[in-house]
Amino acid sequence: MADKRQVKVKVNGVEYEGYAEPRKLLSDFLRDDLELLGTHVGCEHGICGACTILFNGEPIRSCLMFAVQATGAEIMTVEGIAENGKLHPIQEAFNEHHALQCGFCTPGMLITVYHFLKENPNPTEEEAREAVSGVLCRCTGYTQIVEAVMAAAEKMRIAA
């Protein structure tokens, strides 16, 4: 058992300080130490994408990074998407288009789409489909997810 190291991160705008063994996964640190339970762990080998977070603005698999590597980083998790008690347009679109069923992959899906629409506010359906293909969903068949992404893009363009 190695000594614990200090981990200082900013998550959803809030500064956190904790201590973690060097081998502790960032996903486990977020859940176990910070009790931010919105980030879900589905495979722990970087394929399912449920644990996707924004790490200094880039989407990463939090199960493929150690907590100690996150010191100094700014992180956004699913808990940070809605603001002032109001759903983000992406979340609204997911609700309107039935883009989630069990909701377990949804945090990773939302973060992925959040980043994608920042990069590409006016995507084609094919681009939207490809963007979400890094997150596995076993419930929906993806069709309604792609429809929601397209609807969210439109909502956000109108709002912008």
Partner: protein
């Protein structure tokens, strides 16, 4: 009531569950944190078949943070083998005792301060194995010289039965113009929900009782069987299922052994133990469908009429057989002949032991295995007779005027119009036009195929089907079993708010939303005013052995229980209203949440005031009426009867219909499949929420694409599992999901309160044969025969390559 136009039911009311799930506030199994909770990790067998000579835990016990270790010996002392519905003496414990029989079987459990430390200690357990020869092939497993998994059984046959319905097979063959026969292989694949299994168990020595949090999806028969395995009364084992379950698909019916295992671990270590399965454990050792070998024959007349079927189905449930198996082979008994009017069936069933992972119901339970063989042989018969695959189906459908129709095997189809629903599917896909297109494409040397499937989708399992695993003689010595009960409590609080406590245990199907829609219609309130509590707690919820979400039960039996509980509550409210208004109960009318005398609608009393009277002034209630305002129901479908003396059983209770029409093109160079067009038409009875039903259908399609083309729990000849990560076990991504035109043909069930039938499993059953038929049709010019799944691009490429080599 069925088919009647409602205000809220039938609308795409947006899901209420989404608010918490979109904002990271769901409560899934791993989100439950209890005081002083410790963490378990499981040591699993690296061998498919081996004797356990010794398990040395001494070093593990000394490891940092370790609280205790439990082995198979402990489990043997603390529990009995699970009861199972077969006559052979099964010995399924939740942890290997003396011997391991599949890779991934639990061998020992470590409890430590955290999961990391528990996993560290697993490496320090020394297990002395004596490896034995393994058998993974179903047919090899029943050869006389095969290595035997269970010495006490003496062979690898868990179950073997013969059935005869109607005319003798040899006589039938004489009447037939052709007898078409083939052998099919169906693969072993899984639901692989993104949330894995999870259990938190604690034990109190003072009361000798257990509390077990877990994400089990039902059926709750396994709550009773787990209590039996632990040798305790059922009410001493409280199970709590959290609000949110991250997908089930049948796979999460396989959690219950871990509930027993972690209970034993909690008792031995004296701490509250949490175990969250990791993905490798899940892929190795959770549960898949059974893989099946089917030998099938169809006796057909020249005009396409199928006179009878003869089949021998051989399933393997892996290293052990456990409940609800042998359901894999018997759950589809009543709908064995599918959508066709076939009166003669000759059936043989084997359930076989092999050194592979264990099984559980998987979305479609047993029907995809069945229909892959029956729908493929139907196409083969059509080809042999030179008639169109659509035509042979029309020739054999049960006709609408035959409804209600009792199948040769005892299924009771209450309603349906299969020819019309099938025609709708053909129209959507533009069948005739696509046949023309195919002709042109073939002339250009392209491999275009059209695949059809038309199947009956059985929902709401009647638990009676399991008994079919035993002979009529054997059943005579046992008590009958039957039922499909589902529970609901509807209560109105002192301020008039309505809360529903459902026992349907959802895993993403939107029950909270649909229940709110139903209550809104029944009580004349807005769905947002209704609160639905979907936590399932065995100590304070109504439940029965059939409780849970499986076999698409919610839409039929769950909703009927909700309606019945609501109406019971409303009847009571009417009695109180009559008392308050000093009129007869018969004269009370309820409309849009208001109660009034039928001749004085202007003097209405609101539900809130009746609830007020029931709660706040309990003295002044009509004679014989209890205080409060609530209704309860544990409703079982009247069609859930035990099997009869001729092995006939109504194995489900509502029967929907699915027609699938798929147009594919196969790339000769790469084996890649492109879906050019796809129509999927469902008769799920009354549609309760179109958007949710669409999601269910699309979801079942993507899983069936997975099982038909990409997913397989694969083994080498030594029983080593080759697919223990998502890099090897390939789930479809968004890129693999084609555009599918989903449509409906509604024949409301006359058996359910709202006319609804199941919707979420139909395409799980129809897509594997439809894809098989489509690819077979595409490759037919090359002389390739399609008789197994999954049809991955590489497999197709090899098939094309072999066929070309033969002709050259």
């Amino acid at each position: 009531m069925s088919g009647e136009k409602k205000k809220w039911v039938g609308s795409s009311y947006k899901r209420k569950e989404d608010m918490r799930l979109l904002t990271g506030r769901g409560t899934f199994m791993d989100d439950i944190l209890l005081p002083n909770m410790k963490h378990a990790a499981i040591l699993r067998s690296p061998y498919a078949h081996a004797k356990i000579l010794d398990v040395d835990i001494s070093e593990a016990l000394k490891a940092p943070g370790v609280i205790g270790v439990v082995t198979g010996e402990d489990v043997k002392k603390a529990s009995k083998p699970y009861p199972c519905g077969v006559t052979i003496p099964t010995k399924y414990y939740t942890c290997a005792v003396d011997k391991v029989r599949f890779v991934g079987e639990p061998v020992a459990v470590v409890v430590a301060d955290n999961r990391y430390l528990a996993e560290d200690a697993l490496d320090l357990i020394e297990v002395d194995y004596d490896p034995l020869e393994a058998v993974v092939d179903i047919e090899k497993a029943i050869e006389p010289d095969a290595p035997v998994l269970h010495e006490n059984i003496g062979s690898n046959i868990y179950n073997h039965r013969f059935f005869k319905y109607g005319t003798d097979w040899d006589t039938l063959c004489q009447e037939a113009d052709e007898v078409v026969k083939w052998k099919f292989n169906f693969p072993k694949y899984a639901g692989s929900p993104i949330e894995t299994y999870g259990v938190i168990a604690s034990y109190s020595s003072f009361e000798n009782s257990y509390v077990v949090y877990n994400n089990y999806q039902g059926p709750f028969v396994n709550h009773a069987l787990t209590a039996m395995a632990l040798g305790i009364p059922e009410n001493k084992m409280r199970w709590i299922i959290p609000t949110d379950i991250g997908g089930g698909f049948g796979t999460k019916t396989g959690i219950y052994p871990y509930c027993a295992l972690m209970s034993i671990v909690a008792k031995k270590t004296g701490v509250t133990v949490k175990w969250i399965e990791d993905r490798r454990e899940h892929l190795l050792a959770s549960a898949t469908c059974t893989d099946r070998v089917t030998y099938i024959e169809a006796a057909v007349r020249k005009d396409g009429k199928i006179l009878g079927l003869k089949d021998k189905a051989m399933d393997t449930t892996g290293g052990y057989i456990r409940p609800p198996e042998p359901g894999c082979a018997y759950r589809s008994t009543g709908n064995h002949t599918g959508a066709y009017d076939i009166r003669n069936l000759d059936r043989e069933v084997y359930i076989v032991a092999t050194n592979k992972g264990l099984t559980a119901p998987l979305r479609g339970y047993g029907c995809q295995e069945l229909y892959f063989s029956t729908e493929r042989i139907t196409d083969m018969a059509a080809a042999k007779l030179g008639i169109d695959p659509a035509e042979i189906r029309f020739k054999n459908f049960v006709q609408p005027e035959q409804m209600p129709y009792t199948t040769a095997t005892g299924g009771y189809y209450d309603v349906g119009n299969y020819p019309a629903a099938f025609q709708k599917c053909l129209d959507i896909v533009e069948y005739d036009k696509m046949r023309e297109y195919q002709k042109k494409a073939r002339a250009e040397g392209r491999l275009v195929g059209i695949g059809l499937a038309s199947v009956v989708d059985p929902s709401v399992t009647n638990i009676a089907y399991v008994a079919i695993g035993k002979t009529i003689e054997e059943r005579k010595n046992e008590r009958d079993k039957s039922g499909s009960g589902e529970a609901a409590i509807v209560k109105v609080d002192p301020l008039g708010g309505i809360t529903v406590i459902c026992s349907t245990n959802p895993q993403g199907q939107g029950h909270e939303t649909v229940i709110s829609q139903i209550i809104a219609d029944e009580f004349g309130v807005h769905p947002d005013e209704v609160v639905v509590d979907s936590v399932l707690d065995s100590s304070d919820r109504l439940y029965s052995i059939t409780t849970g979400s499986f076999s698409s039960r919610f839409a039929s039996s769950g909703t009927t229980a909700i309606v019945r509980a609501s109406r019971q509550c409303i009847e009571k409210a009417k009695k109180i209203a009559a008392h308050l208004m000093k009129i007869k109960v018969e004269d009370v009318v309820m409309e849009e949440g208001k109660f009034f005398a039928k001749d004085k609608p202007e003097k209405a009393i609101k539900l809130r005031h009746i609830a007020g009277a029931a709660h706040w002034n309990q003295y002044d209630l009509p004679e014989g009426i209890d205080a409060g305002l609530f209704g309860t129901s544990l409703w079982t479908m009247p069609t859930s009867r035990p099997p009869d003396g001729k092995d006939r059983v109504n194995s489900s209770n509502t029967y929907g219909f699915v027609a699938e029409a798929i147009v594919v093109e196969v790339d000769q160079e790469t084996g890649e499949i492109t879906f050019l067009k796809w129509a999927s038409v469902h008769d799920a009875g009354t549609i309760l929420n179109p958007q949710i039903v669409r999601g269910q259908v699309l979801g079942s399609i993507v899983q069936a694409i997975g099982g038909s083309m990409y997913e397989e729990q694969a083994y080498d000849e030594h029983g080593q599992c080759l697919t223990a990560s998502f890099a090897d076990y390939l789930c479809p991504t968004a890129m693999e999901m084609p555009k599918v035109d989903v449509d409906h043909f509604e024949s409301p069930s006359v058996l359910t309160a709202l006319g609804s039938k199941g919707a979420g499993e139909g395409s799980s059953m129809s897509v594997p044969p439809a894809i098989g038929n489509a690819i077979a049709d595409a490759l037919a010019p090359l002389g390739v025969v399609v008789d197994e799944l999954p049809l991955s691009p590489s497999k197709i490429w090899h098939m094309i390559d072999e066929a070309k080599a033969k002709t050259n």
